[in-house]
Amino acid sequence: MSQLPPLAVGVPLLVAALLAVVHPLLTRTVSDLVATVTALATAVMCLLMLVHVGSGLEIYWFGGWHPRGNLAIGIDFAVDPLGAGLASLVSVLMVLALVFSTRHLEVEQPYYHVLMLIFMAGMVGFSLSGDLFNMFVMFEVLSVAAVALVAYKIHERAALEGGLNFAVINTIGAFLFLLGIALIYSRTGALNLAQIGHFLHHSGNDRVVVIAFTLIVAAVLIKAAAVPFHFWLADAYAVALTPVCLLLAGAMSEIGIFGLARVYFAAFQPALGGSAPVLRAIFVGVGLLTALWGAVMAYVQDHLKRLLAFVTISFVGIFLCGVGLLSADGVSGTAVDVLADGFNKALLFACAGIIQHRLARLSQERLHGCGRHLRLTGPLFLAGGLLISSLPPFGPFLGKSMIEDAAIKAGYGFVPALIMLASGICGAAVIRAWARIFRGWGRAHEHAEDTSDEETEAEANEAQDRTPAVMLAPAVLLLIGTVAVGVWFGFADLAAKGGQRFVDFAQYHAGVYGAHVPQAGGSSDAPKFYDYLYCGGATLIALGLAALSLWGARLSRRWNDLTESASALLLPVRRLHSGRIGDYTAAVALGTGVLAALMILTLN
């Protein structure tokens, strides 16, 4: 049995500890080098795992504690294509982020590198783990590391507020997770996902299972930031160091979605599968709400990173729709979309980082027309915007089209239209920002209140006059990645097989208990014509909406009144994002309570 799974987590942890020991001897360059090489090694290991496992399933029992009969004594890593794929995405993004951050003046070795490595180890471990409590532990590892990284810019008020909100809400999420574990353990006497599933397969569904599932779902949705658990995200992502944002937006939110899918398909499916239609309705509903909420909020943002943070939320909603369909197609579509849009969002954050590096601010108002001389960043940013609006035939298009096909197959014909709307609005927000910053189009001062002057403090204390290659190169690579996902259809087929493997509980259980799991079959069917219509439509919506909001006033005087009344309508929603931890916690409590009520009423 290959030793890669434990090494992919153990090596970064060990290196992080060593870095902390020897840091007095190291220069910044050396710790950059060590961290990057470690991340690279992890990425290679994850990719090797991905290749090695194909569309099968490989189990690694720590300490050699193989299960006795049906009883899992130790902890296992269950490496399946999607888990290994997510781990690879995480570690690849980490490599790029570390390269990106070599020129960051804020970064102080070695703590930054220690935190980043442990953050990565936590995410890799979470995506490979096959044990519920182990998932919780990895969840904690990555949360705490992320908190420290978000609050890294200690002399910025906004960073501290974001860090505090993030810390408190995610700590609450961890407690909900642990409560859920306690409940399910008392019912099944198991912590191993497959064993839980096996027990539930025979004992069936009851109130304990329902509430345990609810609590765990609430916890992972907090991490993924689905409405109404999402408030912390914008505050945190808007202020984190840009290289950290690459990972937060590109991987951490997806980790939450992955956790939801893993827990459902590997543990709770046998008990709750019977009521799949109800769950589907709940998840898809929450997903669509999140997608539209995030899109609208992104559209009205002035601060660039905050805008991208809401784009992230909107896409979490789309992922949640895909996974929430609880079908193999939905899962594989989400996998492709997570890959493509993970790269894409990371690309946009990288561009934001370059803008901040060059122009030392992030408010669209104050950046108006300032980016004309950034010859390379501009096109990259525009490309990112077009891809956000799922421009055919590239990666985001492929992912969304797969999700939409799955939705139609599951009888949710209205989902594609709403996804089109959401990604269109997100694209409009990004493209408009491009037009304002890099072209100086449209009037300045469209927003009455500029809320973000405090958040636009520069990471590099003053504007730099040239863009270092280590910042540009990752952005270019990310763009290539986003495009490639769509151009090479191999991804779609891999994801289709991976989805098949992921949702197949019988095979998962058999594999965990030592049976050989065959390679999964299945291949993806090429996008249909209406996929091109939906996604092309999204792009058109994006361009049209952007153009309208830039020049609408010229077309007719009505436009201004329209925007006035629209923003007046939107004001209450915006007020909800108050930055006050009490409000956010109240929202979390309400969300969890309502979720529980829904599940009780429908699943029992």
Binding site: L160, L164, A167, T171, G579
Partner: protein, 114 residues
């Protein structure tokens, strides 16, 4: 009466949430988080309890005697210490917050973020 411990755990969680939501002082808020955390331990340990069971430590009891569940104890044992340092991290954030905004009121964020 057979579910009283579970109800206590639920109560702790509710009270802690209430404290976090209504808190006007970050230190108080962190303390309320430790209350929610206590509920998880109470729940874990009470679900693993067995009437008349001994502690699962066979230094002084024969290895055949009935014992309570050691797994839940292992889970909470590590967590107790770990969460203490997480609280320390939160307190460090609070101290910094005090330095930066000069107060520790979670509601002091005075501008609408949108």
């Amino acid at each position: 009466m057979g579910i009283y411990p579970y109800l206590v755990a639920a109560w702790l969680a509710g009270v802690g949430f209430y404290g976090v939501i209504t808190s006007r002082n970050y230190v108080h808020l962190v303390v309320c988080l430790t209350v929610i955390q206590a509920s998880t331990y109470v729940l874990l340990l009470s679900v693993g309890f067995v009437n008349g069971g001994q502690a699962p430590i066979f230094a002084d009891v024969p290895s055949t005697s009935v014992v309570v569940d050691p797994v839940v104890q292992a889970l909470s044992l590590t967590d107790v210490v770990v969460e203490a340092t997480v609280m320390a991290l939160l307190l460090a954030l609070v101290v910094q917050a005090k330095k930066r905004f000069g107060n520790v009121d979670p509601d002091s964020v005075n501008r609408m973020r949108g």
